[in-house]
Subunit: 433 residues, 2 copies
Amino acid sequence: MLPQWIIERKRDGHALTDEELSSFIAGYVQGDIPDYQAAALAMAIYFQGMTPAETTALTRIMMQSGETIDTSSIPAPKIDKHSTGGIGDKISIPLAPLVASCGVAVPMIAGRGLGITGGTLDKLESIPGYRVNLTTQEFLTTLKSCGCSIIGQTEHLVPADRKLYALRDVTATVPSIPLIVSSIMSKKLAEGIDGLVLDVKCGAGAFMQTRDNARALANALIAVGQSMGKRVTALITSMEQPLGRTVGNALEIKESLDILRGRGPADSTELTLRLSAEMLTLAGLIPNPDAALSLLRHKLETGEALNVFRTMIRLQGGNADIVDNPSLLPSAPVQQPFTAPSSGFVATANAGKIGRAALLLGAGRTKTTDNIYHAAGLSELVKIGERVVTGQPLAILHAATPECIAAALPLIRDAFTIVTTPVTLPPLIMERL
Amino acid sequence: MLPQWIIERKRDGHALTDEELSSFIAGYVQGDIPDYQAAALAMAIYFQGMTPAETTALTRIMMQSGETIDTSSIPAPKIDKHSTGGIGDKISIPLAPLVASCGVAVPMIAGRGLGITGGTLDKLESIPGYRVNLTTQEFLTTLKSCGCSIIGQTEHLVPADRKLYALRDVTATVPSIPLIVSSIMSKKLAEGIDGLVLDVKCGAGAFMQTRDNARALANALIAVGQSMGKRVTALITSMEQPLGRTVGNALEIKESLDILRGRGPADSTELTLRLSAEMLTLAGLIPNPDAALSLLRHKLETGEALNVFRTMIRLQGGNADIVDNPSLLPSAPVQQPFTAPSSGFVATANAGKIGRAALLLGAGRTKTTDNIYHAAGLSELVKIGERVVTGQPLAILHAATPECIAAALPLIRDAFTIVTTPVTLPPLIMERL
């Protein structure tokens, strides 16, 4: 069975057999099947979709493309969180130490920038020295020591997804439900978790721009997770505007520190707490999410969550001094405010356009081999509903060169709309599944 | 404009602008845009199509991706023929010298194996020493000396197509009308021709399996050609069964010699004559195709056409002794007949299945970097309508190893159907546009 025949069968709308999926994925991982054939198959899957059985088979085959982690030596319940990716979504970074500080183990394998959205690994790598490429043994040791660890896929862990994830990013094959589901769930199931909380984004800056699509993705994720015997909960959350007040790797680490100190922006703090509460509930620690909120707030106030973060950074080779001295994080030589053209209320702060602008500022990748400029991005973003006056900054743009700023400006200009009448805030958490 | 955004726009069904097409094609030719992004775009074009204006723009941009040939120093009318590709379609090889022997210049830039169909260049390269990679100057010199020359795209000529053609072959993106049209017409228009005869294949072994699809392709080709000021005629011809009695590179050179000697199989000889007649008519040499046939037959009988072929081979560095001694062509160590399981009449000799079998025998490519085994293929193929008896060979399979034969056999077995009642022959030439 030649690879192009498998591509052709999917192109023509057939369901691929387990054998076809296995041989394609194995060939791709071994390098016998080149990126261009995988790109063509991904685009054919984008158009033709996959049956639930195909999606589950693909997930399992991808998970089994490498080793899986045995967490049985850790007695605490092991719960992870996954977001489908949004603009300014740094939630994993404060969430993991916060949940760990409550006694739940968070073994988190995160991703890199995908499409216009950032990646947790890229954000963490803006911390000098922070290693995302721990060995499995180092990962387990970190997890045991401080209750959480955030790493990238090791070479041995889900190698199929490591290759496909980077490829989809640059071939416009990201927003495909079977590809998203198999990518997420193959990694999560390889982590050795008991349960998983999903944050499915919906809106202008998300893969899923409508509530129906987001619900379809959430249900597909839950179906694959449950068919593999895991406890799974999903929140559908709004991604019309960026989450919090920063977009860009080092800038989002700074905001994460604010959240862990209990003085983060209202929206990113709320989402951190709500997702953490779901995790404590899945872990069986607390009867329901609402009951978890006061415990979580307590962990922020006492600095216990921040302490776990400090320890995790140190254990993963990073400079934990950034926690108390964020100026040790990279900062951009060019920082330029984008000011309000008129007075009024912020009606849109389009997450998709701001995400594209961040890419042009240097915060993301345009090719799998591109380097990220960690200091680039946007800070002090105004939020929908806020009152602004002419000339007030709507955001500060950070970049390596004035040319990058100039390239991003038209998108930023398009992203914001200011109206004269007050704007009602859309709900951040839209639905719980 | 990042490449993935262009892919995304086509994926979402938008018509690409001239600027988007130009920047993508230029980036691909220069190597800034990798194969995997081109593969994703090709698959998106497969699903979303292109408007007539997009197809013409893509053709022009591809043509202009390199140099074009100035044939103005050649006084004879310059007419080429192009086939959309079939199984056992070696017609170009006898046709070019035959038409040249009548005083029409045939500047032919041919292709390599695409999908399950063979490529004229691969066939010619089975002639020891034959160079398909002439410089433009050598091409013009050959054309002036003997009236025809068959070469591949030089590095400087339509480099965009050279890369895309090989890529589409292995990514299941061959049967897309805008991609086929731009590939064919960019090369043909770069040749400096006055007119073009198209042989659009239709049936089980063709990209276009229905008459409607074949007509749509023919009309798209004619539209682009005429919009660029060329005389264009098209025949739609049957590709239910392989053309002639051979499939595979060296084997088809042998059949080409038979055709040039006037003793080729009926169908491949007829198509050579009919397409040649169209070319003489487009050149203005003869008032209509029917009137050309006796002149063409005369050129076969006198050996003048064969002499031109001999000269062309010599001028392109090949061993012209193969013309009188075809045993100098490569031959396969393993040759095995496939015999009729029952007596009766041949009802199907499925060109698609025989083409796939030839690929497994070693006659085609499964990756752009694969080598062709020139001696591989099938000979002595029976034709639809012929009477056979149990145990009589329906074909001889040629390969490097018994394993290749074993791999191809199930497809061969499927390709032939034998029935007990006489079978009516489908017409070879289905339509003239």
